[in-house]
């Protein structure tokens, strides 16, 4: 299968290069650090924040402080919560498009194995999502530097960036089951529904204080600022994230390999009409 991966990767990369989603995701992860910078800008000056009304209120609700640790915490939240949506959409697009464009059938009887195609899709998703996380960090650093935020040190920056990237990496693992949902649902819709349901559940369970044991809540908990950290994820939480990631990849590969790839054969209406035509012709 090793030899199969090269052509499959080439194909996936070409599809990504030509897709609108690649540009949309870059835009989303450009807007995100800009918003984080705006929050910092508001929080830097409470008087100026008050004059901004609603935005100032939301900025305070975020619990962030106008310094480098606060900025990194905010970027981490964006990678974890925003990542679940954007990374989720990326995985759903990579798999769901084959059903929406009806090209899945062209991938099933080839010398290149189905598993290689699935792995190539996940590999592209991982690289794509991590590059977006790097972009988030770079633009976040630029925003923080432009605002002249206090609290900078190499150690703070390294720890902050490591947390953002770790949150992104964990989130990538957590979106792999959406690839399976896109396959079972034969397109985008069911998988998007699963993604939003998961996101809502993650928020509710984290709010109830059980987030450390619900994998989809773990990345957001990881990126909390230190003084909020009453519910940090432990080894069990991380193990569950790894298990979800592994199960997502394995489940998707097994589904592509073993499931019946068919459209619903119940074209009874059309065939019934044709049968009636046949009877009339015979009569």
């Amino acid at each position: 299968m090793t030899g199969d991966l090269g052509p499959a990767l080439w194909a996936e990369l070409l599809k990504v290069r030509r897709s609108k989603l690649s540009r949309i995701s870059v835009l989303a992860f450009t807007v995100a650090p800009a918003v984080a910078g705006l929050f910092m800008f508001v929080l830097q000056d409470p008087a100026r924040a008050a004059s901004l009304g609603l935005i100032a209120g939301k900025a305070h609700l975020s619990g962030a402080t106008a310094d480098w640790p606060g900025l990194f915490a905010l970027l981490g939240q964006m990678a974890a919560v925003g990542g679940l949506l954007v990374f989720g959409m990326i995985v759903i697009w990579l798999f769901g498009r084959e059903f929406s464009d009806r090209t899945a059938k062209d991938l099933l009887a080839l010398p290149t194995s189905r598993e290689a195609i699935v792995l190539a899709k996940f590999a592209v998703a991982v690289v794509w999502c991590l590059l977006l996380a790097v972009q988030l960090c770079v633009l976040g650093l630029a925003a923080g530097a432009a605002l002249g935020l206090p609290g900078w040190s190499a150690a703070v920056a390294a720890a902050g960036i490591a947390r953002v990237l770790a949150a992104a990496a964990l989130t990538v693992l957590l979106v792999t089951p959406f690839g399976l949902a896109a396959g079972i649902g034969h397109g985008y819709l069911a998988a998007v529904g699963v993604m939003f349901a998961t996101l809502a559940l993650a928020q509710v369970i984290a709010a109830l204080g059980h987030g450390a044991y619900f994998p989809w809540s773990v990345p957001a908990l990881l990126t909390q600022v230190a003084d909020e950290a009453g519910d940090l994820p432990g080894p069990v939480g991380y193990a569950l994230v790894l298990a979800v990631g592994g199960a997502g990849v394995l489940g998707t590969a097994l589904w592509w390999r073993r499931a019946d790839h068919t459209r619903c054969p119940r074209a009874v209406g059309a065939s019934g009409r044709l049968r009636r035509t046949a009877r009339r012709r015979v009569a």
Binding site: G3, P7, A8, W10, A11, L14, K15, R18, S19, K20, D101, R102, T103, K105, D106, L107, L108, A109, L110, P111, T112, S113, I117, R258, D260, H261, T262, R263, C264, P265, R266, A267, V268, A270, S271, L274, R275, T277, A278, R279, R281, V282, A283
Partner: protein
């Protein structure tokens, strides 16, 4: 003598989806060099059968072998098979060339020239985005994907769908040339006139079962023939013929429009002489033969009546 090694061989293949039995015990053999046409109404089980041949669906029972290999056991066999299943599909934002380049790589073809050759063979616009192609060109692109690796076996579901008459003729010619080169073709089609022109063997599938299977050259011996007679007074002609022992196929008083129909073995010269002498000369006398379409509809319609 038939080739002892079949290219496609199914034995008692069965597939059920919930309450619907899509394919019910189909045993079918396609031999090297044949153009085997699978005929059936929508929902008859053609596409399910084709998907089982390509390993996309697992049969509940029975066995499927393609090019000597059990389907699912050895994927290297797919490098010798080209296929087009259901409607043509391509990545809409990619150009024709890019779509074919993806297929070339996934099919592990070392020669980049293969893309240019198939583009030229099918007169495709290489730089056009697949999403902007006409239905006919989309069908050509799908055929190009099936042909790019010069397969030994082609499995084509409705290969001339969406093509204009010139395109149909062109594809027909191409399939004939492929057969001359030894390529075996299994195709399903609703266009029975096309099947008549192309197929060397025909299978009729209905409600998941293979109802009939015969060489295209045997169609002659299977179709119904009849002698049709048109006169100015059909009731009088019927009575004259009945008095001489010629029973018409449609009973007196039948509302069926058109000429009287007699069994095919009725001698036309005797019928004509009889009617002329009785003062009811025929205005038209012809031996009519069922075509494949009528034969097919009789088989599947008759089956529904049972």
């Amino acid at each position: 003598m038939r080739d002892p090694l079949p290219v496609i061989e199914t034995a008692g293949v069965r597939k059920r989806f919930g309450d619907v039995v899509a394919v019910d015990g189909v045993s079918l053999t396609v031999r090297r060099g044949e153009i085997y046409a699978l005929l059936g109404l929508n929902g008859a089980g053609k596409t399910t059968l084709i998907r089982m041949l390509l390993g996309m669906i697992r049969p509940d029972a029975g066995s499927v072998r393609v090019l000597g290999a059990v389907v699912g056991a050895d994927r290297t066999v797919w490098s010798r098979v080209g296929y087009l299943v259901e409607s043509p599909a391509a990545y809409p934002e990619l150009t024709v060339r890019e779509n074919l380049e993806i297929v070339r790589r996934l099919r592990r073809l070392p020669e980049p020239r293969a893309v240019d050759e198939v583009i030229e063979a099918l007169s495709l616009p290489p730089g056009a985005r697949a999403g902007t192609l006409s239905m006919g060109n989309a069908q050509r692109l799908a055929l190009a994907k099936a042909l790019i690796h010069r397969p030994e076996l082609l499995i084509l579901d409705e290969p001339v769908n969406g093509l204009d008459p010139a395109g149909v003729v062109e594809i027909r010619g191409m399939l004939r040339r492929l057969r001359e080169r030894g390529v075996t073709i299994l195709l399903s089609s609703h266009i029975l006139a096309e099947v008549t022109r192309l197929a060397t063997r025909i299978g009729i599938i209905h409600r998941g079962r293979l109802r009939e299977e015969f060489d295209a050259t045997d169609l002659d011996s299977r179709v119904r023939r009849r002698l049709t007679v048109a006169t100015h007074d059909d009731d009088k002609a019927r009575a004259i013929l009945a008095a001489e022992g010629f029973a018409t196929l449609d009973p007196p008083g039948a509302s069926r429009p058109g000429p009287l129909a007699l069994p095919a073995d009725s001698p036309p010269d005797r019928v004509a002489t009889l009617l002329v002498h009785a003062g009811c000369p025929p205005t038209r006398l012809a031996v009519e033969e069922e075509d494949l379409e009528s034969y097919f509809l009789r088989i599947v319609g008759g089956d529904d009546d049972r």
